[in-house]
Amino acid sequence: MTNKNNTHWNLSPAPESTTHIRLQKQYELFIDGKWQKPQKPVYFDTISPSTEQVLAKVAEAGEADVDKAVKAARNAYNKYWKKLAPKEKGKYLYRIARMIQERAREFAVIESMDGGKPIRESRDIDVPLAAAHFFYYAGWADKLDYAFPNRKPQPLGVAGQIIPWNFPLLMAAWKIAPALACGNTVVLKPAETTPLTALKLAEIISEADLPPGVVNIITGAGKTGAAIVNHSDIDKIAFTGSTEVGKIIQRAIAGTNKKITLELGGKAANIVFDDAPLDQAVEGIINGIYFNQGHVCCAGSRLFVQESICDILVKKLKHRMKALIVGDPLDKNTDIGAINSKAQLNTINNYIAWGKKEGAEMFQTNCKLPEKGFWCPPTLFLNVSQSHKIAQEEIFGPVLAVQTFRTETEVIEKANNTPYGLSAGVWTDKGSKIFNMTRKLRAGVVWANTYNKFDPTSPFGGYKESGFGREGGLHGLSAYLTV
């Protein structure tokens, strides 16, 4: 039977308003509580990946600027932060949390403009979670002794923090909140393609009257990051980004006493058994790989489907993919926004080309993509094997590699057969099987019958080459303390 109703019902554009957004033409470095020009007047553009328009010019911090920021942080540590009663530190963090909530919509819009992620995600996930993170760690500031039985934990000093472009504000919150709650001061560098929300956060920090120098936010690319890593007066490096860069940092600070935590790449297995709630598994798979255009270190990029249900699951998956709307990140109905940068789009396209060359069967939805900007439709590859490059390397884009398996033993082996170990997913209706699987998967976060859930109380971090240390929860405290 066919449709007698010939008209299509499509959603009209529903763009989020940008009229209340305050962006400057040019941003300086936030050092010692003031906006300071870089020593050398070098600025770079930050663009919107969905329109390729320049949003603002941003200062590039050189070594001298990094040094200035570290000195400010050290000074603030000695002069203010170390002396401030823990509960007062907590109150500053509560204040920041509240201010993020007050300006939530502005942050969400800027996040989507600068990074390309759909407003639905920045509005419902990134920004509320960032505020919640500050709120959670605020309360820890005067309770640290209870987190470490039989110990008197002490702050480390100055923390250098380098964060990625996939969750710019959220990662800033993940880094700054626990560091301050534990009594440290920070120098934070956002990624060069997405500096704006971190700079807006600097505005809030300034409005919150945080003592100058407690939080310094400086912008720049890899060179600026290296200057932070190599600065001799930094006590702690916290890095979130690629495994490749993580290794460089690990090497760079080998001869120092700097404490380090690394949150690196992943190639997570998302495993669906034949007794799973299939429709919710499909949703979890979609959330797992297409959330934030797949720019997620814990993305469920390897799908393992029990062979007996592969056909029906793939059918359902393709059907669900067709309902995904790709386009303007500021449209409230957009499910998949713009790829963060041209460079990243090239990387993704190279992997897609590899997948085809390796003989995997590709499926993409034929959604209309905007002409300007960087776009990749949701993609999946069928008939993939462990030896395929697309099943081994982190693509960091909306590309799913689908493999089949027969038994629990086989899938555990395949799931763990990777140098990464950040996250994993399991879908089955059987409780005892869940506990068996979640125990045997070598990964720091295991989602059972759900995927890509985050919470400030829940520790996050990897096994093996996905890095070490945890962020979030009680366990996230030890990254910023001597215990």
Partner: protein, 304 residues
């Protein structure tokens, strides 16, 4: 595919449903923003899918006539509005409704099978249905035997649906699961599958007499069941959430859900209905707002 060619038999396996996952999915659907032309189009579509309902002990010939007039003349001061899909009444009112709606596209649906509790012998239910059909009902809304279902007598429930289906003849059969009495989404899915495998025309959430009536999670699970059955057999089955849907915004979310889960083929009154009495006016107020640009007062919309 012709329905009768697919054998009616109970499925061997009932898929599992995870409630929290369903709610996540619903949250994504309800975050869809429906504006401007798509809103207008959606609102009119929703109007055309309403089964305008009165199922009261106090129903009278007069009341039913008024309702039928409303079904045909939703709000005459706005041009181009559709009529509702059907009016839904008790068997004794079918004749009245049929007469009032003569010559129009509006169908007459009748509840039957000892609605709403369904606590009657099969013979009584068959007679009830036969009566409704003989009075001219285009559609029959039956209730399943929830007691039997909860006792685990799935064969009984299935056979009963098949028996009613048979006496319906050309009248389209809607099967009310009364999901508010089933307790979990797993059971909603199971009851849906049992009804679907009897090759019925519609599955329907509720009688409207039990709270909760239709909810988005419940409807979502039923839509997924419809899709799975369609995948398996090629048979399209209709869906009717009933009770509890009273705002235009809710109705639009249901339509988005149908579009995303089943596809646009289902977005016609032939395959999707709202069982509601208050919904029409809220939609009309929204249409008036879109048309005239100002927010509305309900006293300007007739209450039948």
């Amino acid at each position: 595919m012709i329905k009768n060619q697919v054998k009616q038999e109970l499925p061997l396996y009932y898929p599992r449903v995870d409630q929290v996952g369903v709610e996540d999915r619903i949250a994504r659907i309800t975050s869809r923003s429906i504006k401007n032309e798509s809103k207008m189009q959606g609102l009119k579509l929703a109007l055309s899918m309403i089964d305008l309902t009165t199922l009261e002990g106090a129903d009278t010939v007069g009341k039913v006539k008024q309702l039928c007039y409303k079904a045909l003349h939703l709000h005459d001061s706005i041009e181009g509005l559709p009529a509702t899909a059907a009016v839904c009444v008790y068997p004794t009112m079918v004749k009245t409704a049929k007469k009032a709606l003569q010559g129009s596209s509006v169908k007459v649906a009748s509840v039957a099978t000892a609605f709403p509790a369904g606590q009657a012998p099969l013979k009584v239910k068959i007679d009830d249905t036969k009566f409704a059909v003989s009075e001219g009902a285009d559609e029959v809304d039956m209730v399943i035997s929830r007691g039997k279902f909860l006792q685990g007598e799935y064969n009984y429930v299935f056979d009963e649906i098949c028996a009613i289906k048979e006496v319906c003849g050309i009248a389209r059969l809607k099967v009310i699961l009364e999901t508010g009495e089933l307790g979990t989404l797993d059971r909603v899915r199971k009851a849906s599958d049992i009804a679907l495998h009897a090759n019925v025309d519609f599955i329907k959430t509720s009688t409207g007499k039990i709270s909760p009536a239709a909810t988005m999670p419940v409807t979502y699970v039923m839509l997924e069941a419809i899709r799975d059955y369609y995948q398996k057999t090629g048979i399209m089955t209709g869906m009717k959430p009933a009770g509890g849907i009273s705002t235009a915004k809710q109705a639009l979310h249901y339509l988005i859900m149908v579009k995303e889960v089943l596809g646009e083929e289902w977005l016609t009154p032939q395959w999707f209905r709202f069982g509601a009495s208050r919904l029409a006016n809220d939609i009309l107020m929204q249409i008036a707002k879109q048309t005239f640009g100002c927010y509305q007062n309900k006293d300007y919309f007739s209450n039948d």
